[in-house]
């Protein structure tokens, strides 16, 4: 009986030790590390970093370098793949709509959409471009192309773009993102499945070296504000909070005049006393 119990306990302990030993390779552990790798790209890690000048085969049959575009004007670089059943198409539509709303395509920047899938050929990517239904004028400034896998890997690393093949499918897991590139350097990253015109406008302002507007969100409970700012028009008008900025000099002036007034009164008093005694 006792030996049987000891035997059972030893089995439990051995099993527990085995489980513990396997812990680092457990699914939970793997999931944790994968999750870290699959975080959205962090802009602060790449900002002002150089982008490798890779060679791209475009859907119009040209072979050119990325610098051929960014030497003319800044580039909005995005990554897609032709057979994407997920975010790529809605993302490109969203980017196209935002660009139409914000403007500046062709004059201030161009768009380069590169496929990261090694199996994609320019011909397949052409279908993707057609599905986007770009207008004639827009087509000249939207460039679709594919790069060599190794070069794409270097490019992806420079802007922290990552992708993973989903097993048993022809699909990839990847973030939807845009890298704003000027003179071969990353100026901004815009990460997210949809492109908000307001965020895109900020990116374009930075590309032009213009300031990016920061303003507090409207809050009805906020009684004192310096200015009312309209983010759509960029117009502002003064508000009552501005008085709080005038208060320090005004209050100080009152206090200082009060402090020094005594001396002036004293002098006047002495002067009048002197006059009185002289008169006598």
């Amino acid at each position: 009986m006792g030996s049987c119990l000891r035997h059972r306990w030893s089995k439990v302990i051995v099993t527990a030790l085995c489980l513990l030993a396997l812990c680092p390779f457990s699914p939970a552990q793997r999931r944790g590390s994968d999750e870290n790798e699959r975080l959205p790209p962090r802009e602060e890690e790449v900002i002002y970093g150089r982008v490798p000048d890779i060679t791209v085969r475009t859907i119009v049959g040209k072979t050119q370098r990325l610098s051929d575009w960014w030497q003319k004007r800044p580039v909005l670089l995005t990554f897609v793949f032709a057979h994407c059943a997920g975010v790529c198409y809605p993302y490109l539509n969203s980017l196209r709509d935002a660009i139409r709303q914000v403007g500046g395509l062709g004059s201030d920047y161009e768009v380069v959409a590169l496929s990261f899938a090694p199996e994609d050929a320019p011909t397949e990517l052409r279908l993707m471009a057609e599905a986007l239904r770009l207008l004639g004028k827009e087509r000249a400034y939207w460039h679709f192309g594919v790069g060599e896998p190794k070069a794409m890997e270097r490019l992806g690393h420079a802007v922290r773009f990552w992708y993973r093949r989903i097993k048993g499918t022809n699909q990839y897991d990847h973030p939807a993102m845009l890298a704003a590139i000027k003179d071969g350097r990353v100026i901004r990253l815009l990460v997210g499945a949809t492109v908000s015109p307001m965020r895109l406008r900020e990116v374009l302002q930075e590309l032009k070296g213009e300031p990016v507007l920061v303003y507090p969100l409207p809050d009805a409970r906020m009684p004192f504000r310096c200015f009312r700012y309209d983010p759509k028009t960029g117009a502002w008008r003064p508000d009552i909070g501005l008085l709080a900025l005038l208060a320090p000099p005004l209050l100080t002036a009152m206090v200082v005049l009060g402090l020094f007034r005594r001396k002036a009164v004293q002098e006047r008093h002495q002067a009048s006393e002197g006059r009185t005694s002289f008169d006598r």
Partner: protein
Amino acid sequence: MAEIALPAEVEWAPAERAAFQRLTLAWGGTLFVLFPVLGLLGLFMRLSHANFFPDLDPIWFYAALTLHGVGMVGLWFITGFSGVLYLLSRYVRPSLAVSRLSFALTLFGVLLLVIATLVGRFAAGWYFLYPLPYRSGGAWANWATDVYLIALAILGVAWTLWALDLLRAIAQRYRLSQALCWHFLRGETKPEVPPLILITTVSTIASLTGFVAAVILLAFFAADRFAGVPADPLLMKNLVFYFGHVLVNITMYLGVAMLYDVLPQYVGRPWKTTATTAFAWNAVLFLVLFAYFHHLYMDFAQPKAFQVLGQVASYMISLPAAVVSILGTLAMVYRTKGRWTLASSLLFAGTMGWAVGGVAAVIDSTIAINFRFHNTLWVPAHFHTYFLMGVVLMIMGFLAHLTAKLSGREEPPALRRTILTLLLVGGYGFCSCSTLRALTMSPADMLPIPKNWHKASLTLG
């Protein structure tokens, strides 16, 4: 030592005079205790940049940044103020009781700052930009913010009382127009007013405006904390920099006031108030209220006119005070067989350091350049240059002057040369490292990002 300044006109009882000297030395002693400690926090931050503590929670970097920033600025302000008070006591009669009260309140305030940052891990920076202090995402507790703001309130009360008392003392002898030397602008030279009175009056009035801004700022924080009334972040940022920028500027001017009063005693030439000096310092009083806008170049909900005003005021403010004082110093020592003691050498070196750091500051206040330099090491580089190699040397020069005068001893020349060499080589070496690094870095790439904040930003984003 030649008595070059205007003759003393205030008689103090020996006991009062001794008490004043003791208090000034106490401020000086506090400086020599706190300065190395706060300096070590700076060293800790630079080592963090160099990844010496990879496993340390980055929040400690920001807690150290907060204490280092607020501590250094406050420390040199109060030492400068106490020094100027001592020098002024020859001409006017400030209250000893108010000075003692300010000293006690300041020590208490500093203690609270240490608790808020090193115990409570309050890490919003000295500028504690709204709404971060009470919305830290769990990085520190709200009580730490309470303690930090209470500490600032106590320091504010102490220094406001001090400033008011000083103005009261000046007002007992001079009319406002005399203290600000407006009669010099009209071409009159009587009554003679020492430049020390002029600069101190200007500095104290300007510092009072900063303290009022701080009171309004704290009131908004209290309304948010206790009544749930949100404040306008842009308004809060304006108030923070109104207060902060003015305080730093005034600290510089306190050092310059010492220069005007002490250096002539070593070079044997009087530094008298002239119409130019009067104009320069009155212009400072006006311009110092607007220069702070250069801290808000990135806030473009603010009208462009304010940004332009910030640049123009920043350029113009460097002309009257800096050029008049710096050229005045050069003219004063030119072809003069002055006595180059530790005190006079430090005052001279501080003035030149102010010029070097001032140029870097003016560069940074240029809107087009600020877009590139914002959040790079250029910012700490330039203010460390004009602060460490400017006002710090000036105030140390004053302390050397005071201790030499009270002890009646002359420092050994070898010791003087060693101290000066170490200060100049170490100081400029330190500042140059940051300046050169600034030219090769991208904005904010020296800042560690607390893990929790990144997760929080993802959640919010």
